[in-house]
Symmetry: C2
Subunit: 505 residues, 2 copies
């Protein structure tokens, strides 16, 4: 047996009791919200068949999948196959004679696999949430781990934009319950598709979104340089710059966008002057069709969120004083109404998004996005079951933890590990304490008896370290009188109580 | 991309929403009890360094560990090392150039690793519980999976038998809360050690416990045959048979055991007649010393459990009528008092147990043990930190699930997935429904709006499949009158309510 000092694998973490409690608080809060919205829990195994995972995350992703070595390789009947399989692996391929299984890389592909396997028996739309760890062989660094939790809610089998409205409300409600001030940003991939159509054709979509996605990190000048490198013309880049510069309220942005996506008035000054061929590519004299769809989708969602004064049910329990607010268009009056920010620079790296995209950022702290998601057209096509669209959001639990820690948002109550710590002051005394403790526990109070007789000091120190609320002292004198001394460690206050008083208060 | 029909790795499972809810009910119930007793949650990573795990589970166990292939093997700078490492693996060895990490095989070794790494900062006794999956490359069969959850509570850094008393109470309380009728069996490895001392010496301990452990499965005759095969003499086997045949109440068994472990009265008939040399091995004329210790430990624990009439605090809230019960010695009157059964045939396979051992069986169903545990002397010695004793218990969650399913013990409430299902009967109607739904959700009621307008039938069918409690109908007529029709799907009762009534009742 190894007597080496033990250690943890790089990029993995133990969660001590205080950390588990805080993390659990986050999970419980988000789970409660998911369930309020009719989302159902699903759990899938940590291991998937390697086939299920490979080829789903791009070349770089594939390299980060943790593969599990088959067992029994040294069995004589397996050795030869294993050896040739290994040579294939050294050549960068996979072979089920060496590795048949791998660790889950995200929760989306296992969910797709589940839906594909069970689509005959599921009731659609199927709303599921899933909170489980995933594993990636990324280079560990601050805030990036090789084992981390994902926390996803998706609804599949529905094109309805009501789902987007609900998912936005889930974000708003969950972060409000956690106490984290956030901005929920929204955009639509159809708008980005329209931009691509105008700037060199649909084939430029990936080039454009990849570059725009870096705007936050590298700034406008470098995005422009990258677009030029990616073979866009200066005129096309100028349109993108104009697009990225659109500002104002949600309404103002969308109005300006409609103009940008429409051919200019005949003879007047306009985008056409830049000489781009893209603007009229749609061949109509109206607005770019894809772009118009994207804008309409955004407007539908915004009408449910920032325009709730149009909602006849919204003022059921609203305060009449706020019903006449100066700006009803931006003040949804039903509970959990999200305040969405249209962010046209939002692109989201993942190429499978086809409609609405979301991103959530905590305000007031330096931290990347703490949530994101979007709509996709085809969840399960890769598993032979086409035509299942969906939309989902994800919560970045590790970053949410860091934000809450930085802003000290965790309720102090979740740290309290034990309510009553009984001192152990002799055998008969301990037995009496034990009986009282069992009474308290049966009423839902956590309690502990110091494990052996020891000096007062030592027992006090233990109670203090455990964060006990009360210390209960039951010595020979107290035992004779059937009383205890109960000391509140936070206030220092001490009272003498009868056995009955202790267990009944 | 693969278009194959996807499947799950052998021995792994998806948990659908209803199953997750039931499993969560079990975990939550057990967790609540652990916390009442001051046990703190700990979570460790799924992966451990291979060094941490290898050599801890015996030769057979080592073979069942899932190893993770290192990433980047096809990188030219790794190929040569990997190739020679692979040859070592084919020869049945391990090499960190091929696999550095492996999946957790149980929760005990990761806990030991955690304590060894953190013993300088932990407060002892350290009480932790852990509920996480483990992975074993066992041949899958009914009730045996390659991924399954363990659910352990251990206290380390304490020799006090109060810990055993508490763990027994945890078992009693948890199974009572789950509604599972159980027998909690208890024995002590010191008693088995004494039996070994009497039957051929301490070196026979493993032979004897391994054989006795099979008693349930193979019956007495085969156990005797196995003992003879393992080089015990017929006389020694006769003593073991006598030991296994001890019956009666706990007290009667322990009294008989004391006789069995003591030299016979001079000249009288007794065990000595069998010619064994073991009986007098202790060199005293009294009872075998190890056995006496084991018996005393059992008696200490029993005094706290089945002999609570000696407990001055026990009758604080007890009914006076039961205080004078006919059999106070077997009727502990504090809440959660376990009723323990001394089972001298209980051996537990694991060799690291040194004192108390527990096993829990559900009564009234055919099922193996649903819980087990015991005391060990040295948790962390293998990691270079000697002298940390402990005691722990484990809950077999998969079997507990099966028992509860068979006895239909799950509360029906945990199946209800959604309270209010709103029909979607038009755009304006849906908007109004949405506002009402958000009011209900803000009050903690789960609600869902059908995702699109559709025929009544279709929406009813969906509500039914989702197990909705109420269906809420809000059509154009209702909207005009600011009312809804609410139908209780279980009773079929339908009422017309105003918007206000709906959200306020």
């Amino acid at each position: 047996m190894s007597k080496n000092k033990p250690s943890l694998p790089q990029g993995t973490r133990d969660f001590d009791p205080a950390t588990v409690r805080k993390r659990r608080y986050i999970f419980d809060t988000i789970r409660t919200v998911f369930e309020l919205y009719g989302y159902q829990p699903l759990e899938t195994p940590a291991m998937e068949n390697l086939d299920t995972l490979m080829g789903k995350y791009g070349e770089e992703g594939d390299k980060l999948i943790f593969k599990i070595l088959n067992n029994g390789l040294s069995d004589p009947k397996n050795v030869e196959k294993a050896r040739s399989a290994f040579e294939k692996v050294l050549a960068g391929k996979n072979d089920s004679n060496l590795t048949e299984r791998a660790l889950r890389y995200d929760l989306t592909i296992p969910f797709a696999r589940y839906v594909a396997m069970n689509h005959g028996t599921l009731t659609f739309p199927f709303r599921r949430y899933q909170m489980q760890p995933v594993w990636r062989a990324d280079r560990p660094q601050k805030g990036r781990y090789r084992e981390f939790y994902q926390c996803d809610a998706d609804v599949v089998g529905s094109y309805s934009l009501l789902n987007e409205v609900e998912l936005a409300s889930i974000y708003a409600t969950a972060f409000q319950k956690l106490g984290i001030p956030v901005e929920i940003r929204i955009n639509n991939r159809k708008i980005l598709a329209a931009l691509a159509e105008i700037c060199g054709g649909a084939g430029k979509m990936v080039d454009i979104t990849v570059a725009i996605d870096k705007l936050d990190k590298i700034g406008l000048e470098k995005v422009k340089a990258e677009l030029l490198e990616r073979a866009l013309t200066p005129d096309q880049v100028a349109i993108i710059e104009k697009y990225l510069a659109l500002t104002g309220s949600n309404e103002e942005k969308l109005t300006a966008l409609k103009t940008l996506f429409s051919p200019p008035a005949t003879g007047g000054p306009g985008i056409n002057e830049t000489g781009t061929t893209g603007i009229n590519e749609t061949g109509t004299s109206g607005i770019n069709e894809t772009g118009a769809k994207g804008i309409a989708e955004l407007e539908y969602i915004l009408a449910y969120t920032t325009n709730a004064s149009a909602n006849p049910a919204a003022n059921v329990s609203a305060n009449p004083a706020t019903d006449t607010s100066a700006n009803p268009a931006t003040d949804a009056s039903y509970p959990g109404a999200p305040s969405l920010i249209v962010d046209l620079t939002l692109a989201r790296g993942l190429n499978y998004y086809t409609g609405t995209i979301f991103e959530v950022k905590a305000t007031g702290v330096q931290m990347g996005s703490i949530g994101g998601g979007g709509r996709y057209d085809d969840l399960t096509g890769t598993f032979g079951v086409p035509g299942i669209p969906g939309v989902g959001v994800s919560f970045g639990v590790d970053r949410i933890y860091d934000v809450m820690d930085e802003l000290t948002l965790f309720p102090t109550a979740i740290d309290a590990s034990i309510e009553y710590l009984f001192f152990n002051l002799g055998e008969a005394e301990a037995k009496a304490a034990f009986g009282l403790m069992q009474q308290l526990r049966s009423k839902g109070h956590s309690a502990e008896l110091y494990h052996e007789t020891a000096k007062f000091d030592k027992q006090f120190k233990y109670a203090d370290k455990k964060g006990a609320h009360y210390v209960v002292i039951l010595g020979s004198e107290e035992l004779a009188g059937r009383t205890v001394k109960r000391k509140d460690l936070s206030t220092g206050q001490q009272e003498t109580l009868s056995f009955e008083q202790l267990v009944n208060t």
